[in-house]
């Protein structure tokens, strides 16, 4: 019987099955952790335990220090896309619609999702490793023994800063994206700036702008909450910090794509 079990344990099917089971377990545990952190953060905000000084500092970090990367990523993505399509559109007689295409692209998807990716790689990863380091060096325990709520002091300002600052970051980077679009289409296809900007507002409705801001708001909050939660649950030493950071980045990426999908299904169908 023992031998039989041993053989069974070595089969690929068994290993695959246990590894999937372990992953499902990890998945539900992580999802649970994030949810609990979210609830505790909301509670801390309503109990007035948030540090307002920290909020200002985190807003600065989220909004200002991230701008160079966000702007260059969104700007360059627009250059790449517009340089591929502008010439073709002008050739086919659709030159007067290039502006509309770029603005729809920016406001509906590219501006917000590319900013999201940039913010994850820059801010999300640093939030996760910062808080994970605090966890493994017992600084979070120290907070608690000093009777300061970590959800009020660490989570609340970071999550709120994410929600507050992500919309302006997206708006600014979309604006830069549109400018880069105008410049690129002028350079590659000789389209006049006038023709570009005339059609700019054709494809954009108030609803699109509203959804764009709502999406940015959700992305910012989700990225900050997921990253903080991974940091908070880090275990062990330096290795634990690394694992937490990777987890935060992967989960944030997946989360914003899922949120984006929910918006797409909910609002544009």
């Amino acid at each position: 019987m023992e031998l039989y079990k041993q053989v069974l344990r070595q089969t690929v099917t068994y290993r695959l099955f246990t590894s999937i089971l372990a992953n499902v377990n990890d998945f539900s545990e992580t999802l649970g952790n994030i949810t609990i952190c979210g609830i505790k953060t909301i509670k801390a905000i309503f109990k007035g335990e948030m540090s307002s000084k920290e909020l200002i500092e985190q807003c600065e970090r989220f909004g200002i220090s991230s701008l160079p990367i966000t702007l260059s990523i969104v700007g360059m993505t627009t250059v790449i896309i517009v340089s591929q399509i502008a010439q073709e559109m002008v050739k086919q007689g659709g030159g007067n619609m290039v502006g509309a295409l770029v603005s729809i692209l920016m406001v509906r998807e590219l501006g917000v999702i590319m900013s999201g990716f940039a913010i994850i790689s820059m801010i999300g990863s640093s939030l996760a490793s910062e808080i994970a380091t605090m966890r493994v060096t017992e600084q979070i325990d120290a907070l608690r023994t000093l009777k300061v709520n970590p959800f009020g002091y660490l989570f609340a300002p970071r999550v709120l800063a994410g929600m507050i600052m992500m919309p302006p970051v997206v708006i600014i980077s979309s604006f830069i994206g549109v400018l880069m679009g105008a410049l690129t289409s002028n350079l590659v296809s000789g389209l006049s700036y006038r023709a570009f900007f005339d059609s700019l507002w054709l494809g954009i409705f108030a609803k699109d702008l509203f959804i764009c801001i709502a999406k940015a708001f959700c992305f910012g909050g989700a990225i900050a909450l997921i990253s903080c939660s991974f940091g908070y649950h880090a275990k062990g030493g330096a290795k634990g910090v690394g694992i937490a950071t990777t987890g935060a980045v992967v989960w944030s990426f997946v989360a914003i794509v899922i949120i984006d999908m929910i918006f797409a299904i909910g609002f544009f169908f």
């Binding site: 600084q139 120290a142 000093l146």
Partner: protein
Amino acid sequence: MGIEVKNLTKTFGEKKVLDNISFKVEDGEILALVGFSGSGKSTVLKLISNLVEKDEGEIITSEGDIAFVFQYSALFDSLTVYDNIAFALHERKDLKKNFTEKEISKIVKEKLELVGLKGIENLYPSELSGGMQKRVSFARAIVTEPEVILYDEPTAGLDPIASTLIEDYILRLRNETKATSIVVTHQMSTIKRTADKVIMLYDGKIVFRGTPDELENSDNEYTKQFINASLEGPMKILA
């Protein structure tokens, strides 16, 4: 008020780290908690300060604050020494409106002087030596006038002179604050200089209790092995 621990049990996963432990520390007393690495000393402190939840048993202690001095100081590395010490006064919900910055600055200065430091308010923790970090963490812990102070290996990793200094400050803090203290340590010097009573943990149980003198001179197989740092004896060392 002192600390009373009754039938305390704690399991991590499969491992029973503390198995039905009971002890009492009288008001204003200093208890040394000794034992090899992994014997559950830090866990006892974390249970008393509510950082870890107990499985079973009872911990009776003061309603007032319980200060915790962490093994590696656990200073907030993004804050200056000043902001570290003032942290509870700045950020604790029930305290932050009670003090003006001027009062806080006076308290910080006072607490720093109590641990023999001066003029380092604007430095960051990484700019200090290990012994100084330890002392700043003492100052941070006592800023709210705690009734209980828990020290996790306060002299580990320090040179003998820095250790002596820290031991003196442990005594001094007790005399100034009248707090009840537990000191987790491996060091005989720390036990002899600071402790009124000693408890030794092994395999989740208390294997010795007595005074520092009794620890040194008893026939107990466990304490003999501990004092002589011997590999031979009832305790299996896994390290």
